[in-house]
Amino acid sequence: MNETLVLENRSAPVRTGTAVRLTGVAKVHRTDRIETVALSEVHLEVGEGEFLSVMGPSGSGKSTLLNIVGLLDRPTEGTVEIAGQAMNGLSDRELAPLRNREIGFVFQTFHLIQDLRVRDNVEIPLLYRRLPRGERRALAEAALERVGLSARMGHFPAQLSGGQRQRVAIARAIVGRPRILLADEPTGNLDSRMGDEIIAILEELNREAGTTIVMVTHDARLAERTNRIVRLFDGRQVQ
């Protein structure tokens, strides 16, 4: 682990192990003519139960970093470990169940399926676990209750406000009880009041369920509420 990382918030929960470990990670996007370095020499260790924020200007590699941690993208160089297991060399068929069980995603643009009701959207990760329908439904309803949207289960996303949509996205991310929650600018499309609500939910998840959270944000005020901040610039880890 890179020891230069700064823990800016001293209220972090007690760490019992490493949730994510990136060692010497680099990501280069190559086309016929140009080569773009998105990440270079990133060393990062995220402890279990930690709430970490990643900051940096646009194009600094924050989302790329999150995609690599979330097993949506593969590094050009370096190694990725999730809960002590090396991810390099695993096939798509092996990575998919890991994404399903270990990782939950919250996106800036929510990525809800507009043609599915709220409850059906939240159930999606459970579809790939072959759970009985009743169990899926119960888990989805519990997740929605947790984010305060029990009354909106039968609505379609278009019938909800931005904050409500993001809460649905959080419910979908936590419905499978993942070890790690990755949030890519979860408040980017929300006003400050709704943003605060969302961060409060994430904090509660981190505090009460011990979920490890890695959040990409531009908002320094929100980042300060997390245990630790990692700063990126031009694909390099600067803090």
Binding site: N67, G70, L72, D73, D92, R93, A96, P97, R99, N100, R101, F105, F107, H111, I113, D115, L116, R117, D120, E123, I124, P125, L127, Y128, R129, R133, R172, G176
Partner: protein
């Protein structure tokens, strides 16, 4: 998971309407094409009821045909001599007067109204007793026409099995008169007692109109060669040749016929050659129709492929999301195909209900109802793998994109 497919399909009913219509149109086009194909294949498969090989048609042109009974009597006498000359040749097995040879494209029909006020038309063929060997026909009940039948006080008639079923249903037709009615369902007896037809025999179905046509109703009645008041001089004969008779016999037969009727004109044709011309004339439009139908199906298929492609491409972001949430490529492809199958089954169900109205409402009465059932089944069997095939490639393309890129897809 099936419930999820159904929910997605139902909730996207507007977006899916285009695919549903495309599949429905493809299905109906295929149903029509297959109905025609099955109809002709079924017709081709059925026995003809006669043999066209070694069979010749002799057409006679009688110059002084008219209403003068003396002339008609003289013509009938010449016809008797002509039939004797035909039968006298060692190359000829048997011969009969018979109007309109098979495959000639012409038929003589008689129509009667039954008690149910439905008009039944049948091929009406006056022949002499030897005709059963000329075609040859297969007797299934009763007897064939015999000498003396042309002078009875009724007209003995031999009918085909399908005509017997149509008129008498399951009852035994032998010895039964064929009762005729007018359009209002009132009995209409024949003016002369000897014209009353009575069934004496039943033969297997007789498909004089050829392999591609439906099975017509058929009836054979005695051709009088003695009484001009009952039958006019026949103008057409069928000649059954001994196997192996060469085409050169035509010249010698013609000479023999001219010696009997020097003022009459004769035309001799091989029924096998007439069949070849008939098939050529009938198959060419069918081939053209099949080619057009093939192109139509191809165009519909291309349209379907385009619509599916557009539909799947429009879901790239959703596909990225599903993969981020833990679906493998195979699961995403299975979902795309599962939804497609759900949608296709819906369209096919609708199509089957629509298409089966054709036989149920009797819109095409000359085609047997089971043909439509078979065609619908064939269309279902053809369209399902086709639709799956159309969905495979767009599905494969959609899952080939990395989930991280797919999520950013606009």
């Amino acid at each position: 998971m099936i419930g999820h497919y159904c929910r997605v399909v139902w909730n996207r009913k507007r977006a899916n309407a285009l695919i549903l219509i495309e599949v429905l149109v493809s299905f109906l086009v295929l149903c029509v094409v297959f109905s025609i194909a099955v109809h002709y294949a079924e017709n081709w498969r059925r026995p003809l009821g006669f043999q066209y090989r070694d069979l010749w048609s002799v057409t006679v042109r009688i110059p002084d045909r008219g209403s003068d009974p003396l002339v008609e009597a003289r013509n009938l006498e010449t016809s008797r001599a002509l039939l004797a000359a035909l039968r006298g040749s060692p190359e000829v097995e048997s011969a009969t007067p018979a109007p309109n040879a098979p495959y000639s494209g012409n038929v003589s029909r008689s129509g009667i109204y039954l008690a149910d006020r439905k008009l039944v038309q049948f091929l009406y063929t006056p022949v002499v007793p030897g005709a059963i060997e000329v075609y040859p026909l297969e007797l299934v009940a009763g007897r064939w026409l015999q000498p003396g039948d042309d002078v009875l006080d009724y007209t003995p008639i031999v009918i085909s099995q399908n005509l017997a079923r149509r008129i008498f249903g399951r009852e035994d037709p032998l010895g039964r008169p064929i009762e005729e009615f007018d359009e209002q369902g009132q009995p209409r007896p024949r003016p002369e007692a000897w014209q009353q037809r009575k069934v004496v025999g039943v033969v297997k179905d007789f498909r004089k109109t050829g392999e591609l046509s439906d099975t017509p109703y058929a009836a054979f009645v005695p051709q009088s060669m003695a009484d001009a008041t009952r039958s006019a001089a026949p103008w057409s004969y069928l000649v059954r040749l001994r196997p192996g008779t060469s085409g050169a016999f035509e010249e010698s037969l013609l000479r023999s016929l001219r010696s009997v009727g020097p003022t009459w004109q004769f035309e001799i044709k091989s029924v096998a050659r007439m069949r070849a011309s008939y098939l050529k004339a009938r198959l060419l439009p069918l081939l053209i129709g099949a080619t057009i139908a093939g192109f139509l199906v191809l165009m519909v298929g291309m349209g379907l492929l385009g619509v599916l492609w557009q539909n799947v491409s429009g879901r790239t972001q959703e596909i990225g999301l599903r993969r981020a949430l833990g679906a493998t490529r195979e699961q995403v492809r299975a979902q795309i195909l599962g939804e497609l199958v759900t949608l296709t089954l819906l369209a096919l169900g609708l199509g089957v209900v629509l298409f089966l109205q054709v036989p149920l409402l009797g819109l095409v009465p000359f085609v047997e109802p089971q043909v439509f059932g078979l065609a619908a089944l064939a269309a279902v069997v053809a369209i399902l793998p086709f639709v799956l095939l159309c969905g495979l490639y767009p599905g494969w393309l959609a899952t080939a994109v990395d989930p991280a890129r797919a999520l950013q897809y606009e």
